[in-house]
């Protein structure tokens, strides 16, 4: 049971990581002059959309968290709306945090906001897919020893990795190398992306490695 689930997790994660690689390569075939560095904002949009679509589909197909009770259509719609609001709020929150970290307040708002959207895609969207708009569950998962399935473990790892990646991505900004990738927010968004991909790959491996220690309590 656990092995099979782990395999499903690995497949899903590899799919996500692969899709990010594809977002960097495929659009160049359709769009003239597309490159991750040159037309970074376009790439940010494409990447966010792809990752979110993929995540939502995977969530619907694999159903890692079996919905506890059958719910009516209106309930579903309200859940969906709540999810949208939560996602938007998380974008705003990330934007605010990035500005607090020193991003310019007025100029390059688009860049900052798209970076915030990317971060939200890597973190909040996954939480929404897995846990739904349930803050209590979020807090449980992100507290110590709070994960109750390998999916939640993977969620913990990828989220942490993406945020850490974005954090480390800010390091090269002050260097005076004058490279194109030092322009705001390229290094940060690339950092977050690499962090996310690393998280996706690390998570199944880590769970596999520690499968003896991981004992999930039934809810």
């Amino acid at each position: 049971m656990k092995e099979a689930e782990l395999r499903r997790l690995l497949a899903a994660n590899l799919l996500c990581a692969g899709s990010i690689v594809l977002t960097a390569l495929v659009p160049a075939l359709f769009l003239d002059g597309f490159s991750v560095l040159g037309t970074h904002l376009t790439w940010l949009c494409i990447c966010s959309v792809c990752v979110s679509v993929l995540n939502v589909t995977l969530c619907l197909i694999l159903k890692p968290s079996p919905s506890s009770k059958r719910s009516s259509l209106s309930n579903k719609i309200s859940r969906f709306l709540k999810c949208c609001i939560y996602f938007f709020m998380s974008c705003i929150l990330f934007h605010a945090i990035i500005v607090l970290y020193g991003a310019p307040l007025i100029e390059s708002v688009t860049e900052t906001f798209l970076f915030a959207v990317l971060l939200s895609t890597f973190t909040t969207l996954q939480c929404l897919c897995l846990l739904g708009p349930n803050i209590q569950a979020w807090i449980r998962v992100f507290s110590r020893n709070g994960a109750m399935s390998i999916w939640e473990n993977s969620l913990q790892i990828t989220t942490t990795c993406s945020i850490l990646g974005g954090w480390f991505g800010a390091f090269p900004i002050p260097l005076d190398w004058d490279r194109p990738w030092q322009v705001w927010p390229i290094s940060c968004s690339l950092g977050a992306t690499f962090g996310y991909m690393a998280g996706l790959i690390i998570a199944p491996l880590w769970i596999h490695w520690n499968r003896k220690q991981l004992t999930y309590k039934s809810r």
């Binding site: 945090i97 607090l100 970290y101 020193g102 209590q136 507290s143 110590r144 002050p174 005076d176």
Partner: protein, 1045 residues
């Protein structure tokens, strides 16, 4: 240094630094009676029974830290002295003067050049107009076109040559004057001694001119008069220390002009105008005051030029007018660094000897500032000064014949190659030297042809080729000479590094002991093994010292010190070594013993701990990159932001997880308890409160009352983050983004004076509100009056306006107002000290002590309110606000331990250092703080005030740390000791690593512009931290006595 040599107990080998601290009254127990002291409190501590040594020194960790920091300060001072040697270049000028070189002899026998004397002067009179902080775009840019019409016309259509002269950092006036007049590049240490300039001893243009019988007149900055005493037949020096004086300094120069220009009894006239620099310092390059000043300068130039032209007909030789700047100014109006705005100055030669410029000005040629000295020497018919590394600017002598031009270049090349010979043993392999020899040879051939009376066409072409060869050779020679400016005194540097590294090691090794609950060390006072080791090491080091000093060829500071001092330093090194060895021994001994409580070591690290560790290591590593040093403020802002977010997460966990376990009362309860307990043990009380609340809804109402407090607590990290973000945009600092517009500039521009006044007034009121709550009544009143005084001081010097005072009153220096504030500062600090002494002597309750500490703190706040520029007052407000919020809502509820709190204080202190507009460049030091309330420049108070104003951020945070920790003494009796130790450790790590890094990078391209200023800042910070730690130890001492008493 002196203390260690005069040590009375050298026969006993224990760390001298510690001993010294003991004499300073910092050691808890008097060591000769340590045995008795140990017997007395044998019952009080579990470790007391284990004491077996005869002579033991009990040392509190605070005292250890203070002692270590004092030793470290000594080490850093030695290193700095070695790193910034006084440049020793050519032989002193008094020695036999070499004759100027003759023309190179043409090959072949029989023919010899008959021209051996110095070429005659090219100009009859030379006027040098030096305008301080004249940036290149003030003359060549749009400002020049707008405000300097006459000069622009001369540049574009007149008989002139214009260049952009590049100044070498440090771009400070005195080194630049030296560079202009000697042609050499003065060492970085000139910045430090900039404030009291001694006479210039090396060979220079002024001295040569005087020796040649030229009559020199000087008006302007009295730095010249100090540099060249008795060189001028007539002079009038104006002091440059009243930065707020814009007009009088220049009127004092111009008033002599009419009279002097009519006279004929001078050959060289030097004018140094300071007004522009003062305007730059006070209001920046874009201030509306710059335009009129430039127009004034333009009129001066017009007057001089017309007067020179009118006399031209009478004499055979033309006159020369040189216009130059000593350095530029940055976008903030200061200078000292190496940004393009600071190093690019205009250099204008105006003379009727030159060809009339036909076309408009094309691309300006970039020359070195040092090139002026050799060019002027040739122009005045003087020998080129020996230390010169500059090249002759050829266009200036371009109107002369080919033979003369070649002669000039040969003289210059000869002088440069002589300098190279004196400074490099392997000079013959130098590319420039080889090129010069080749050029010299072809010059000889050319002279042969010339003397033979060859065809002028061929001669001219050949001459041009030789000229090109010479120019190439000169360029290579001067660049290889410029590289050699830095001669490091490696021996002193090594000794300093060894001391600093030993201190760091000792601090590291004593971490487990120092942060234990007792925070005490037992230092055995004379184990035979160590005394033997100590003596051996001393002997060995002295032997090494003798060998090094007798064999060293270059000048070495450490060798030139007296033997007694040197031996003292050696003993300090050996004592530290013994301390390290004994600490290592103890750790090995302990590791052999089985761990008594494995539970303590298994406690996992919280996120904040990980962040603190990673941040410290990351910051230290970042010191290796020049960009990270330039933008160090970004590192600190980034770190404190992350710290705030981590604290926010900690707070959330503290509040929400409890709620969680309140809701899920089932089996998960226990698990959550585990997780909470792991996070931090201290939440037990809250957990109990939460578990109590499950009994009924009644309890939850009580919780609801606390609810508002809880939400404020949750919001506080965000408020702090917002404060930090606002402060970040108050002062843009660093290098890359320093030109970005910021609030500070917006406020200081003259149009926004009323906004600035309102902001300053609100800030002062806020400061009062935030500070007064823990002061006694008397201090409250003094504080209020003092803050009023601050405002009236700022109003008096014209920074802010009173609402009822609409007409701009004449600006005074505000001496009375500033002194009025000083009285209150001293009064408040005195009251605080009195309370502290009272609590020490009478050993009253701790509230007296904490009030006393707070009063000392508020006195310092008042002093910094006076010294800070008015637009920086919000920094002070936010500093107090953040401290209050942190104390009330974060540190107290989360119950961090002393070490964590100390490190957070240190981080915030560093961030505030940059928030107040400092950077790692010399230019941002606000020198005007040193003149607040002083009639004229007085060295000691000026240095003290400037240092205080610069380091106000770290200092205020450190004193606040002391206030906080001593109020926490009831919870953890060793808190102050832990804090002091951590503070010392936090300072020692970056300094030690940085010193090693700088030694490794001493030939880096940016060593002078980036690494050296940072080194000075680090050194200064060590000295200040040592003082802070002594204060900490003194406070700790009180406490420990009280506990024992």
């Amino acid at each position: 240094m002196r203390g260690s040599t005069s040590g009375s107990g050298l026969e006993r080998c224990w760390p001298l630094a510690n001993r010294r601290a003991g004499r300073a009254g910092a050691v808890a127990a008097d060591w000769p009676e340590a045995g008795r002291g140990g017997a007395e409190d044998a019952g009080s501590g579990p470790g007391a029974g284990r004491r077996v040594g005869r002579m033991r020194l009990r040392l509190r960790s605070g005292a250890l830290a203070a002692g270590c920091l004092l030793a470290e300060a000594l080490g850093v001072a030695l290193f700095l002295r070695g790193f910034f040697p006084l440049p020793v270049r050519s032989l002193p000028r008094g020695e036999a003067r070499a004759q100027p070189p003759a023309e190179p002899a043409p090959p072949g026998p029989g023919i010899a050049s008959n021209w051996t004397k110095i070429p005659p002067p090219l100009f009859r009179k030379v006027v040098i107009v030096l305008i301080d902080a004249l940036r290149d775009d003030f003359v060549f840019g749009s400002k020049g076109k707008q405000f300097m019409p006459y000069t622009t016309q001369v540049i574009e259509k007149g008989t002139s040559y214009s260049f952009i002269a590049e100044a070498k950092p440090p771009t400070v006036t005195m080194p630049r004057i030296k560079a202009l007049m000697t042609g050499s590049i003065p060492g970085f240490i000139d910045v430090v001694v900039n404030l009291n300039s001694p006479a210039l001893m090396s060979d220079n243009l002024i001295w040569q001119a005087k020796a040649a019988g030229k009559r020199i007149i000087f008006y302007g900055d009295d730095t010249w008069v100090k540099l060249f005493p008795k060189h001028f037949v007539e002079y009038d020096g104006t002091t440059s220390f009243f930065v707020s004086d814009f007009t009088e300094v220049d009127d004092n120069v111009t008033r002599h002009l009419d009279r002097v220009l009519k006279r004929e009894d001078w050959d060289l006239l030097i004018l140094h105008y300071l007004g522009l620099d003062h305007i730059g310092h006070m209001t920046g390059p874009n201030s509306p005051l710059v335009g009129p000043k430039l127009r004034e300068m333009d009129n001066v130039l017009k007057k001089i030029h017309i007067s020179l032209l009118s006399k031209e007909g009478e004499a055979s030789l033309p006159s020369l007018l040189v216009v130059c700047g000593d350095h530029g100014m940055s976008e903030t109006g200061s200078h000292g660094g190496s940004s393009e705005d600071e190093v690019h100055t205009p250099l204008l030669f105006i003379s009727s000897a030159f060809e009339k410029r036909s076309g408009p000005l094309t691309q300006l040629e970039l020359v070195q500032q040092t090139d002026l000295a050799s060019t002027l020497a040739v122009g005045l018919g003087l020998p080129i000064s020996r230390n010169n590394v500059g090249n002759i600017i050829l266009p200036v002598v371009g109107s002369k014949t080919m033979r003369e031009q070649l002669r000039f270049l040969h003289m210059n090349g000869f002088q440069l190659s002589t300098l190279l010979q004196e400074n490099t043993p392997a000079y013959e392999k130098d590319l420039g030297y080889e090129q010069f020899k080749i050029a010299e040879k072809s010059h000889g051939n050319w002279i042969k042809l010339y003397l033979e009376g060859n065809n002028s066409e061929i001669l001219l072409n050949l001459g041009k080729k030789v000229l090109k060869q010479y120019l190439e050779a000169l360029r290579t020679l001067s660049s290889s000479l410029s590289k050699q400016v830095a001669q490091y005194d490696m021996y002193s540097m090594m000794v300093g590094t060894v001391i600093v590294m030993e201190v760091l090691l000792l601090l590291f090794l004593s971490v487990p002991k120092a942060l234990s609950s007792r925070a005490e060390f037992e230092v055995p006072l004379s184990p035979p093994l160590f005394s033997l080791l100590f003596y051996l090491m001393c002997l060995m080091l002295c032997a090494v010292h003798v060998i090094v000093c007798t064999s060293a060829e270059s000048l070495c500071y450490f060798c030139s010190m007296s033997w007694l001092t040197a031996v003292g330093v050696m003993m300090l090194i050996s004592a530290l070594m013994c301390g390290i060895l004994s600490a290592v021994g103890k750790i090995l001994e302990n590791s052999r013993l089985p761990l008594k409580n494995p539970g303590a070591s298994s406690s996992s690290w919280s996120e904040v701990d990980v962040l603190i560790l990673a941040g410290t290591i990351g910051h230290v590593l970042s010191l290796g990159a020049s960009s990270f040093i330039e933008e160090e403020h970004q590192t600190w802002y980034f770190l404190i932001n992350t710290l705030c977010l981590a604290l926010c997460q900690e707070l959330c966990r503290n509040h929400f997880l409890l709620k969680e376990c309140d809701l899920q009362l089932g089996t998960t309860m226990k698990q959550n308890f585990d997780s909470i307990g792991e996070a931090s043990e201290c939440k037990n009380i809250d957990v109990q409160a939460a578990s109590n609340s499950k009994l009924g809804k009644a309890a939850s109402s009580a919780e609801f009352v606390k609810g508002s407090d809880k939400w404020i607590s949750l919001a506080s990290p965000w408020i702090i983050l917002i404060c930090c973000r606002l402060l970040r945009s108050l002062n843009q600092t660093g290098v890359q983004w320093a030109h970005r517009p910021d609030f500070g500039h917006w406020l200081t521009s003259s149009e926004h004076k009323s906004e600035l006044s309102v902001l300053a007034a609100i800030s002062l009121v806020m400061i009062f509100v935030l500070v007064q709550r823990r002061c006694s009544l008397v201090s409250k009143i003094a504080m209020a009056l003092g803050l009023l005084g601050v405002y009236s001081y700022r109003a008096a010097i014209g920074n802010v306006i009173f609402p009822w005072q609409h007409d701009s009153k004449d600006i005074s220096k505000g001496i009375t107002e500033a002194r009025f504030v000083y009285v209150f500062v001293l009064g408040i600090v005195f009251t605080g000290t009195k309370d502290l002494l009272k609590s020490q002597v009478i050993s009253a309750d701790s509230s007296v002590k904490s009030t006393g500490l707070w009063e000392v703190y508020s006195g310092l706040v008042l002093l910094s309110a006076l010294l800070f520029r008015p637009h920086n007052l919000p920094v002070l407000v936010f500093c107090l606000l953040i401290q209050t919020m942190m104390t009330k809502y974060i540190w107290r509820p989360l119950k961090f331990d002393a070490a964590q709190i100390t490190i957070m204080h240190y981080w915030f202190g560093q961030a505030f250092f940059y928030f107040q507009g400092n950077s790692n460049g010399i230019a941002t030091v606000d020198v005007s703080a040193g003149f607040v309330g002083l009639e004229s420049y007085v060295e000691i108070p000026a240095i003290f005030l400037t240092a205080f104003a610069t380091y106000a951020g770290p200092l205020l945070w450190a004193i606040h740390l002391l206030c906080y920790l001593s109020s926490e003494v009831s919870r953890n009796s060793a808190a102050v000791g832990h804090g002091c130790f951590c503070y010392a450790l936090m300072r020692s790590i970056p300094v030690a690593i940085y010193i090693v890094l700088v030694t490794g990078l001493r030939y880096h391209l940016f060593i002078w512009s980036v690494f050296s200023p940072k080194l000075l800042y680090e050194g200064m910070h060590v000295f200040i931290t040592a003082a802070i730690c002594l204060f900490f130890t003194a406070m700790d001492q009180n406490h420990s006595q009280k506990v024992q008493g």
